[in-house]
């Protein structure tokens, strides 16, 4: 196995193209674990930490938040300028891993790993964010829906690097992320839920609701969004209980628990988002 630490994005892309089976190393909180367990056997590791100058940023424009892929979870957690519309990013950062993991892990790595229960996957999906990729043919931008393909599978070509995320800041909107977990400290989500609300007019709300760890990839459930918009929480619970089909082999919770938890989590998440909308 070879190790590279490119000094530019272009160099990183070239190395990735030259080495089939190469893997990108950012914070390493997933790569190191999976390499040690033998789950991955990369031919080369391309450490992109030297690209921090280019890829570690959080910037605000008029109506968007731009986040560089090497932004750490701690960066997000402690950024004083995070707009209230995207408080869900802070919710996700707050429960993410532990202090040490948050200091190392990057938002780009959390997304690239394409884990169905990743904190930022459902969060960015609910916020209608886009992911920006750079590759040999230049840049492209994908919606989160189009990015996630399945467990551990992302819509990334060989030689592509995630450079950042663009999050729309809708006026009159709010958001929240919550998860269920086995312990309050260092843990992975049993399931999670992220919601964005937007005031349409005095009576109507637009709801985007994304769920993690209930299927092979984070998903929006449009029917649930409609029920939440009507605040029909019993309806949401029934819907999710009846339609979700979580895998039975999870070590974190039984399928029954996930089916029961999903609706309750959606209700809680919605209620907090609603409160944030008001206040």
């Amino acid at each position: 196995m070879r190790y590279f630490a490119p000094a530019s994005l272009e160099e990183a892309i070239n190395i990735l193209l030259e080495h089939e089976g190469a893997i990108i190393l950012a914070g390493g909180t997933d790569v190191m674990v999976e390499k040690r367990s033998g789950k991955i056997e990369p031919s080369a590791v391309v450490d992109i930490k030297k690209l921090e100058g280019e890829l570690r940023y959080m910037r605000l424009s008029d109506d968007r938040l731009e986040i560089g892929s090497l932004t750490t979870i701690t960066d997000i957690l402690h950024w004083g300028k995070l707009p209230h519309e995207v408080t869900s990013l802070k919710d996700a950062a707050r429960v993410f891993g532990c202090h040490e993991i948050r200091n190392r892990a990057t938002i780009g790595g959390n997304i690239a790993h394409a884990s169905p229960g990743a904190e930022f996957a459902s969060t960015l999906l609910a916020l209608d964010a886009t992911v920006q990729l750079a590759g040999k043919d230049g840049k492209r931008e994908l919606s989160m829906e189009d990015f996630f393909l399945g467990p551990g599978k992302a819509n990334m070509e060989r030689g592509e690097v995630i450079t950042g995320f663009s999050v729309p800041l809708l006026s009159g909107s709010s958001s929240c992320y919550m998860r269920a977990s086995r312990v309050d400290g260092m843990d992975l989500a049993i399931i999670n839920c992220a919601i964005r609300l937007q005031d349409l007019d005095a009576e109507n709300l637009a709801v985007r609701a994304a769920f993690g760890a209930v299927a092979g990839k984070p998903i929006r459930i449009v029917e649930a969004e409609k029920l939440l918009a009507r605040e029909d929480f019993e309806g949401v619970k029934r819907l999710l209980f009846d339609t979700l089909n979580p895998r039975a082999t999870s070590l974190r919770a039984a399928p029954m628990s996930k089916k029961l938890l999903a609706g309750n989590l959606a209700e809680d998440t919605y209620k907090i988002a609603k409160e944030r909308l008001a206040g």
């Binding site: 429960v95 309050d184 029961l260 809680d268 409160e275």
Partner: protein, 809 residues
């Protein structure tokens, strides 16, 4: 009593070394030319080894040799010799070591290990002990009848039962006949892992002169020496066991684990250091695990609440080899009906072979299993009897003059259980009116030390914006406890203290400080006895069978109490020698001398310890006395073997009593239980170091919360541990600790303990699970009998009740 060292919260001496990374642990030790071992483990739970193919692995780069169990002509064990160092003929659990690959580097060993192929003929297997005792269950040890075992153990050849311990008191049938209310329930406590920070390791070298030196992360260097000298037929002087700093034990490093394997493998490479360090994953199946108890408890009460009959039958899944679990079976039997005086008792405790990893000591040693059933049971009984659960317990507890199940009479000096319960009840808010705890202590004429720790902010607690009374339920409950050490009748401790010419002292013992703080506490005992500041005592940091004096092993919460007594005696013998020399200088009898402030006094005249340490030199140059070394030794008082028929006798060297209480918040929607407040009251005789004593209890409580709420080893149908990692086996983190942790020590002195101290270490874990489960019952009205009380279990129970299928409220 005013003291200079004992009773003071001295910060631990090893703290700086440990937080800065200076402390040396087994994995840090690297001798030149060390060879590394990787073990190839069984992939099936039960079967015959048909063939082992090592040709390819032997040719791999860096490989020195491939070792199988074929040449091992011995069985390992202490109480029952039932285990080969590497599998021979048969494998009995997934993870059993079959082949050891020895290579120049760890990496080379790992690579070569992948090339070893083993063919098995699979046999039917059994994972649960209740299945393993059924007619026609697969027999895991065909040769049980031929194994050596100590006479106090009772294996049943031709079955999977490697030990049966039975206790009988009174007449059980008559007891139940007289009872007005009889309650019977089944309980279970699954297999759990210790999850010590430091994985097990050993490094062994055979000299060309056939002497063995082994470094090991063990709590029991003298047990390791004794077994290795037996199996290799060597005098004790030819086996040396050295123990560096230990990174957590919790019982999992007691007795033996990987040492016989390491020593056996190293023997093929004389002159070479051979190193074997387990991975984190191997810690879940390659060393020792804990608990695994399935029990039935039946109790008979009179209408007024008097408990008159108790029948307990406990089945322990001991794993594929029974030696390490065998005493847990007995210990659980001693305690199986809790801290109550009962006229008629009938206890069966069984150790049962299962095709699972090996069970060994785990903080609590049979007591958490016993209290899980008893303390849940008392709560259930109280409701059926219509009596307050606290009152029911107070009516039946062991008090001075009571006879316990073993026939021992409880003494005043065993500690104050009644006061412990009343204080716990008051602290958790179950009393009729809130009183000052100090006031209750005064009522009972007992000294207390109280401490409250606040938990961290919890990131993950849902902030519920609207008031949802229906959703959250608060519950409070208590669970008393008792604990006795389970030990050999001659489980001795000894200590050596050497005096230095500058008034400092070196202390040598072989008890292991695995984090519990014995280095500091034993130094305090030495300093207090010598009458000098604690900084003047240097506790040798390692244990070494060739250097440090005999210690049975560091288990049974016995170091402060038992090793501490030896240290006190050693310090007294130093003082005797000082006085003897000084008496010659003053030309008086030693009995006329006094010791204080680092000097020996005769009236107003004194001689400093410094002048006596190497022998006293008179002004003319002639010397007397000589270098001063003090020694001290103890064995437990008057222990006997159990009576063959009744299982009774002087089986417990002491008893520690206490009571725990929990306040929980149950989220009915998510099934999450959060422990808001947890109270532990223990009568520990004397807190030698209150700060560390509190730390012991808090650590035990949080560890016990892990087992109560989340922890369990998950086996696949194929017997594999499916959650062998810290990602999938969740232990509590600091954020999971209760918001409020209250620890209260009562100090009823223990006559044979140093400065009145009695055992304290494991105790804080004993009744954690029942206290929490009883509080959950109080909160949501659901009785749970199986651990852990995780989200799956709670959600299922709440769901079933709401559907009207089950539940009882």
């Amino acid at each position: 009593m005013s003291t200079i060292a004992v009773g003071k919260s001295v910060p631990r001496f090893d703290a700086r070394e440990k937080v800065t990374g200076e402390a040396v642990y087994i994995a840090d030790i690297q001798f030149p030319g060390t060879l590394h071992v990787k073990v190839v483990r069984s992939t099936i739970p039960h079967g015959i080894i048909k063939s082992i193919h090592t040709e390819e692995a032997e040719k791999a780069e860096g490989v020195y040799g491939i070792i199988t169990g074929e040449k091992a002509d011995f069985l390992v064990g202490i109480c029952i010799h039932d285990q080969p160092p590497l599998a021979r003929r048969k494998v009995r659990y997934v993870g059993e070591p079959v082949v050891a690959v020895v290579a120049e580097t760890e990496k080379a060993a790992i690579k070569a290990a992948r090339l070893v192929r083993i063919e098995y003929e699979e046999l039917p297997h059994v994972l649960n002990p209740l299945d393993a005792i059924k007619e026609g269950a697969p027999l895991i040890h065909e040769d049980l009848g031929s194994y050596f075992h100590l006479p106090t153990f009772n294996p049943k050849p031709g079955t999977n039962i490697f030990h049966h311990y039975h206790v009988e008191k009174g007449n059980i049938e008559e007891g139940f006949r007289k009872a007005d209310v009889i309650i019977e329930r089944n309980y279970s406590f699954p297999h759990i892992a210790h999850a010590q920070i430091e994985p097990h390791g050993a490094i062994a070298r055979w000299s060309k002169g056939n002497e063995l030196h082994i470094y090991s992360s063990t709590q029991a260097p003298f047990i390791v020496r004794s077994v290795l000298s037996r199996v290799f037929n060597l005098p004790s002087t030819s086996v040396r066991v050295t123990v560096p700093y230990l990174g957590g034990g919790f019982g999992g490093k007691s007795d033996l684990t990987i040492e016989p394997l390491t020593a056996y493998v190293a023997r093929f490479f004389p002159g070479k250091w051979v190193k074997f360090i387990l991975t984190r994953e191997e810690m879940y199946f390659g060393s020792l695990i804990g608990r695994g108890c399935y029990s039935t408890l039946k109790m008979g009460f009179k209408k007024d609440g008097r408990l008159i009959a108790a029948k307990a039958s406990m089945h322990f899944a001991g794993g594929a080899y029974g030696d390490y679990a065998i005493n847990i079976v007995t210990g659980a039997g001693h305690n199986s009906t809790g801290p109550y005086e009962i006229e008629n008792v009938y206890v069966d405790s069984y150790g049962i072979y299962t095709n699972t990893p090996l069970v060994g000591a785990y903080r609590g040693y049979g007591h958490p299993e016993a209290h899980w059933q008893t303390e849940r049971h008392m709560d259930i009984a109280a409701r059926e009897l219509g009596i307050d659960p606290v009152a029911l317990r107070l009516k039946n507890i062991l008090k001075p003059g009571s006879e316990n199940n073993l026939g021992q009479i409880i003494k005043e000096s065993n500690g104050n259980l009644e006061a412990s319960i009343k204080i716990a009840v008051n602290e958790i808010g179950l009393g009729k009116e809130k009183r000052e705890t100090e006031e209750i202590a005064r009522d009972h004429n007992v000294r207390i030390i109280k401490n409250t720790s606040k938990g961290l902010d919890r990131r993950a607690i849902p902030v519920i914006t609207k008031k949802e009374e229906e959703r959250f339920a608060v519950g409070r409950a208590i669970a008393p406890l008792m604990k006795s050490p389970v030990m050999a009748t001659n489980a001795g401790s000894s200590a050596i203290i050497k005096a230095n010419k500058d008034g400092t002292f070196n202390l040598l013992v072989s008890s292991i400080d695995m984090g519990q703080g014995s280095i500091t506490a034993l130094s305090q005992i030495a300093a207090e006895t010598l009458g000098i500041p604690v900084e003047k005592v240097r506790h040798y940091r390692a244990a070494d069978t060739e250097v440090t004096p005999y210690e049975w092993q560091t288990v049974a919460s016995s170091t402060t109490w038992k090793a501490g007594s030896a240290v006190r005696k050693a310090a007294l013998s130093v003082l005797d020698k000082f006085k003897e020399t000084a008496s010659k200088v003053f030309d008086v009898s030693p009995s006329e001398l006094e010791v204080r402030d680092g000097k020996v006094w005769y009236g107003n005249e004194s001689i400093d310890f410094k002048e006596l340490a190497k022998g006293y030199v008179f002004p003319d140059g002639h010397a007397i006395g000589g270098p001063v070394i003090g020694t001290g030794a103890v064995v437990p008082h008057g222990l006997t073997y159990p009576d063959k028929k009744t299982g009774r006798g002087e089986l417990a060297a002491e008893w520690t009593f206490g009571c725990q209480a929990a306040e929980v918040l149950v989220d009915r929607k998510t099934g999450r239980i959060r422990v808001r407040k947890f109270v532990t009251v223990l009568d520990i005789g004397k807190a030698i170091n209150p700060l560390m004593a509190k730390g012991q209890v808090e650590g035990a409580v949080v560890q016990g919360m892990g087992a109560a709420l989340n922890e369990t080893l998950v086996y696949g149908e194929d017997g594999r541990v499916r959650n062998a990692s810290l990602t999938d086996y969740k232990i509590p983190t600091p954020e999971d600790a209760p918001e409020e942790l209250v620890t209260i020590f009562l100090e009823t002195p223990q006559p044979d303990g140093p400065f009145g101290a009695r055992p304290l270490a494991e105790h804080g874990i004993v009744s954690v699970a029942p206290a929490i489960a009883n509080a959950v019952r109080d909160a949501i009205g659901i009785d749970l009998y199986d651990l852990p009380l995780n989200q799956d279990r709670l959600l299922e129970a709440i769901y079933q009740r709401e559907k009207g299928k089950g539940g009882d409220k």
